[in-house]
Amino acid sequence: MASTPTVADIGSDYNRRYGFHDPEEYFMRTPKGLSHEVVEAISLLKKEPEWMRVFRHKALDIFLAKPMPTWGDTERLSSIDFDDITYYVRATEKQEKSWEDVPENVKRTFDRLGIPEAERKFLAGVSAQYESEVVYHSVKEELTKQGVIFLDMDSGLREHEEIVRRYFGTVIPSADNKFAALNSAVWSGGSFIYVPKNTEVAIPLQAYFRINAERMGQFERTLIIADEGAKVHYIEGCTAPVYSSSSLHSAVVELIAMKGARIRYTTIQNWSNNIFNLVTKRAVANEDAVVEWVDGNIGSGLTMKYPAVILKGERAHGEVLSIAFAGPGQHQDAGAKMIHLAPHTTSKITSKSISKGTGRSSYRGLVKIRNGAHGCKTSVQCDALLIGDAARTDTYPTMEIDEDQVSVEHEARVSKIGDEQLFYLRSRGLKDDQARLMIVNGFIEPFVKELPMEYAVELNRLIELEMEGSVG
């Protein structure tokens, strides 16, 4: 994949490749601002069942009643103007059946994103979300034969209402936090995946997300259910055009791993620097289940994202592996939560962050062990790399341990690129910037090696781009 010219070029011309935006062509968009009328309009337009309409309205009431968070980057959070956001935009009238039917301007977007034609054929269902609705969606025939459901969330609700109704909002209720309530009220798009018992999805399922309209919120809603003994890897990658005013991205992702199931959820998040990325991601892991979040945060102005695993069944395992890159002016407030409810559950959090220029990265995490959950083991490791004397890093881990027969470990390290390291690499003939890049690449290597190859290549390119001009 690395040799594909389109992929190889990713990151080499950020503004042109990612900063473009097509003229807006919309069949339907709601007026700016949030109200019960807007929620009603969204629900009506989607021809949703009554329970979902009620669910949205209740969620809006919760959103309006809840105060803004008083922790985190409150200064930036308070600059969000909820009345200046378009909550629903639909790009095309109907769900496209095949690639040929996808409108030209949308195709152009994907081309410029650098998704090679060939890659689409290799990969399983490429569910590309353009604006708020999924415009292109193809599921490989084998998946359908296996009984795997892979749809956008709206179609999922239409075609598999009984499953959706049973699980929707059970992991993250609307009242969980202000932004989960917002998403519950105005959600649109996202993925719906159901993997039947003892079914293994051999190839990763992927979706590309993209925000296009200025000041338009994107509120995708993803629900993944892996039934007993099932196995699935879902990959989500995001890019967005560079715009002058702020956009809000507030997704809700719910994962349910039944007994013995295994879910891995990989994200490379690369929003442009004016975007607020306020995401709630949570999984429930039942007996012997494994849930892994692999989470990369490169872009956005402010990210607040703390993927969580509720370890509900005995011997369940949760893992979060994340990297954050905070360039000048960015704040990556990311972390992880592990809630151990059952005995012999295990979890591991590995968080790596790089702060450059005036960038700030924060690790904010929670490990909670309930009384009676004996034999749990959990370890948290945070590494921060600082580049430049104005860079900032914070570590805010929280450990709440209500049981004695457990082992809990937390470690954090903060460092800069060492002069000895640079000296050594220079003595081997590397230039300063090459040496720095090599050190940074080495720092994030444990994360990169968990990615599928095309993502690893893309990430390395992005890091290379971010590192440009960091010498001196």
């Binding site: 105060p67 922790w71 936090n177 932004f179 600082l386 430049g388 027969q405 954090a412 460092s415």
Partner: protein
Amino acid sequence: MASRPAVAAPELALDHVAALSRAAGEDAALLAIRERARALLTPLTLPDRARHLWRYTSPATFLPDGDPSAAAPGDVGPAWRLDESLSAAALLGGGGLRVIEIGADARAAGVVIEDLHRAGVADLLGRVVPAGHGFLEAINTAAWRGGVLVRVPAGVTLEHPIRLRLVAGALSLPRVLVLAGEGSSFEVIEGHVGGGAAARVIGVTEVVAEANANVRYGLVQRWEAGVIGHLTARARVAAGAHAQLSLASFGGAEFKADVGAVLAGEGAAVETFGVAMGGDAQRFDHHTEHIHEAPRTTSNLDFKVALTGAARSAYTGMIRIAPGAAGSEAYQENRNLLLSGHARAESIPELEILTDDVRCSHGATVSPIDPEQLFYLASRGLAPMQAARVIVYGFLDQTLGRLPQTTRERIQALVAARLHTE
């Protein structure tokens, strides 16, 4: 993301501040400091519990029942028989100070131990812990009664420690100010004892270490059961100075401590070592802070907690490295040993690093006794109970081993005594 709004607090009466100040023989400057602190408390706003500092303990717990400025002086503090070599000893109880002893050497060197009310050092009070530090510090600043000034002149080295004993009454608001002159070197131990069911303590200690001073400050809390108390002990450490803060928590029903240092001058160094042993239904909430403000400052923190019964401990620690503090190093370690199924420990070791030229790390663990260690000791013929004691002692001793000898021996004895009563 739900936020908990600041709790609406009951009114706090502080009607007798002027009378208190007059009765204690204070000057006008000291009264002015009290009045400013009182102004901060009207109206009384309790801190937001969304912040980590008050996440595990309700601020209202420590509010006095009545008007703290009206508390009448209680009985004279109990007798205290000295059985060790000391440079100086002072007893603070019943709202008053009794200087027990100032050794001849210390006296000759110009060491001062005196009543803080009358010491005329208003200009030095509140420099390390201003009234705005928190609502409890403001209450103490407005209504403290019974205070001691310890002043060790520049260049003086004391061979023996200075021991302060603070005896808790029904409501105690003690205040301690330690001034370490340039290049001075000494050890001061502040021991808290006494109290009883529902006794309240709100104490504030300030330590000022001038350039190149070497101060070993120990805070040993062994109140009687039932005491509800909050102690703040903060140091300001100038260039080239070294401060060692040790903390040992044993007693009381509910104890919250705020211990820390500002590394204000280039090359300042701070070490904080602490142990806490909780049993029954005791609740401990310790907060430590190391604030690096100057270049090439170093700090090290090691805090150990062992809990039995249904005891609960919360630890929050902050290391902050300010933008100008290049070349600084900071290490922080918190380990918790849970010896019963009902014990509970919380740990939040936080870092805020605002410059890149630093070396910084922290670690925290919560675990039960390692069964392999128990097995090993059992194989050497130790009964499980004995083995557990040995392990807990060893666990705490790693930290205690780094304390100056007198403080270490004192705390080791207390740890041993506690282990044998569990």
